[in-house]
């Protein structure tokens, strides 16, 4: 793509590095910003810079946070006896949006994957045991993706925590709500049949 201005070209190149944005969309964003008042571009760049400088990771659960301790860990209304283990803070957003969980989280920061060079010691695993004792956790929910690496990680954590005699659960797998039965993949449907539930 040819640009009449070097300044626009630079800006487009930077914006098009963002995920899901190509050159054309980047140009659209840049031209839009140019049309707005100068103040709005300033606000945007300030917001981004502050975000970058001020963002922290919660010292307890490794969630993304404004302070040393994240709002979930700091909250007094959360149930500290249920600890939900997730791969990344993105999963926290997903679970929080369901509004079905009132416990606390622990972010692993990855999954065990020897092929990608990720070993258990590269994850935030050591602090789990301490947290369990500190919060007197009664139940662990393993909310990791149902992939090979997810299974390995879940298995590893279960074995590690075995002697603590906790209730360890994992997310149910089944037919998506609003989905058509005939289009559900065989493995999911098979599991759903095996772990069917009572119809009340």
């Amino acid at each position: 793509m040819n640009f009449p201005s070097k300044l626009i070209e630079n800006a487009v190149n930077e914006v098009s590095k963002l995920p899901g944005i190509g050159k054309k969309s980047a140009l659209r964003v840049i031209l839009y910003l140019l049309k707005q008042e100068e103040k709005s571009t300033e606000n945007l760049s300030v917001a981004l810079q502050t975000l970058r400088k001020e963002i922290k990771y919660c010292k307890k659960c490794y969630n993304i946070s404004d302070d040393e301790i994240c709002s979930i860990c700091a909250s007094k209304t959360r149930d500290n006896t249920i600890l939900c283990i997730v791969e990344s803070f993105k999963d926290i957003f997903a679970i929080e949006n369901t509004a079905q969980f009132r416990g606390v989280y622990h972010v692993l920061g990855g999954l065990i994957s020897p092929m990608d060079g990720i070993a258990p010691e590269d994850l935030h695993l050591d602090s789990i045991t301490e947290r369990i004792k500190e919060l007197s956790v009664k139940e662990i929910i393993l909310a990791v993706s149902p992939t090979m690496e997810g299974d390995t990680t879940a298995f590893y954590i279960t074995k590690k925590l075995k002697e603590l005699n906790l209730k360890i659960t994992t997310l149910a797998r089944g037919v998506p709500v609003g989905g058509e039965l005939e289009y559900t993949d065989e493995i999911t449907l098979g599991r759903s049949i095996l772990s069917r539930i009572n119809y009340d």
């Binding site: 020897p114 258990p120 090979m148 390995t152 590893y156």
Partner: protein, 389 residues
Amino acid sequence: MLLEKIHLINFKNYELLEMTFGNGLNCILGNNGSGKTNLLDAIYCLAFTKSYFGLTDTQNIRHSESFLVVNGSFKKEYHLDNDDLDTNLVEFQTDFQTENIAFGVREGKKTIKSSVNNYQKPSQHIGLYPVVMLTPYDTDLVREGSEERRKFLDGIISQISNEYLQNLLKYNHLLKERNITLKRFAEKNTFDAILLESFDERLLEKGKLIFEERKRFLSIFLPIFQEFYQILSENNEIVSLDYQTQYIQNNQEDFTVFFKKNLQKDRLLMRTSTGIHKDDLEFLLEKRSLRKFGSQGQQKTYVIALKLAAFATIKQEKNICPLLLLDDIFDKLDAKRMQKLLQIVSCAPFGQVFLTDANPERTKALLKEIKQETKQENEISTFILEKII
């Protein structure tokens, strides 16, 4: 199942090729280097999304080009159960459907697309368009290590059962992860039993499923194979296959104990020393090792019988007639066996067969004899490939 048309762009030595095939025996004749084997390999790619000869995806691209495309137009039969229709009219009805498959490689990435299925992974395609290929290199099955024989076995069973293939892929993935972990332990001088156990349990579970499926397959395959060997060799030599495994008498408990016992050994070797990835299939002729005691001719006949039996087993289990690709098979066979083989593959249960020969006169003469002597069932088409390099 029939392959009606193939269209190649930049595949190996082909710049552009379009061919329409006959329904029965297709004889592809031409000099050395005219691209006979490459044409068969292109058909193989449509079924397996990879070359038969172990080339990487990009090595299949024509020299100094950046991409390749193989397009195949298949005609598939669907037998309709007439429960829904008026059963008094017809017993059953056969429906034909044209299905297009496109295999492509571009920028080091391969794609497989189908006009009727939406694949999430290329491995889901395997087995839908079954193919059995026979080449002069296949005597490696007898002479080389156990890996070749496991590949042979896995290649057939994967075409019969996609579930088997998925289990095998998962097994290999876990095995690789376990081996990398063992290596890392040795390098860093650490050990974490729980981490290894995280792989072991699933490795054993998948391994057991694979073992049982191989056993089940062999019980069906062996009698079919013995029959083909008998027909081809025209004598009463008894052949059999011995599946050699560390699994003891189907007893999984024992195997788990055995597997765990080898942990120290595994740590030293830095790889997993027990499991179905070590199993072997021994080829026996009159209860003796074919590799050690079989003549070259016997080995060749043995391999041909194995492949024909693979064809028949897939056909029986899947109810789809696989394509049979025969590359330069007359090599090392005497005139009588050549004729015999051609006779077998030119009528039922064989359907569409692709055969190459660098000696057109030989094939033409053989075909003439067959036409005169036997009641020829399948249509015969011949193609002469010009030297295109």
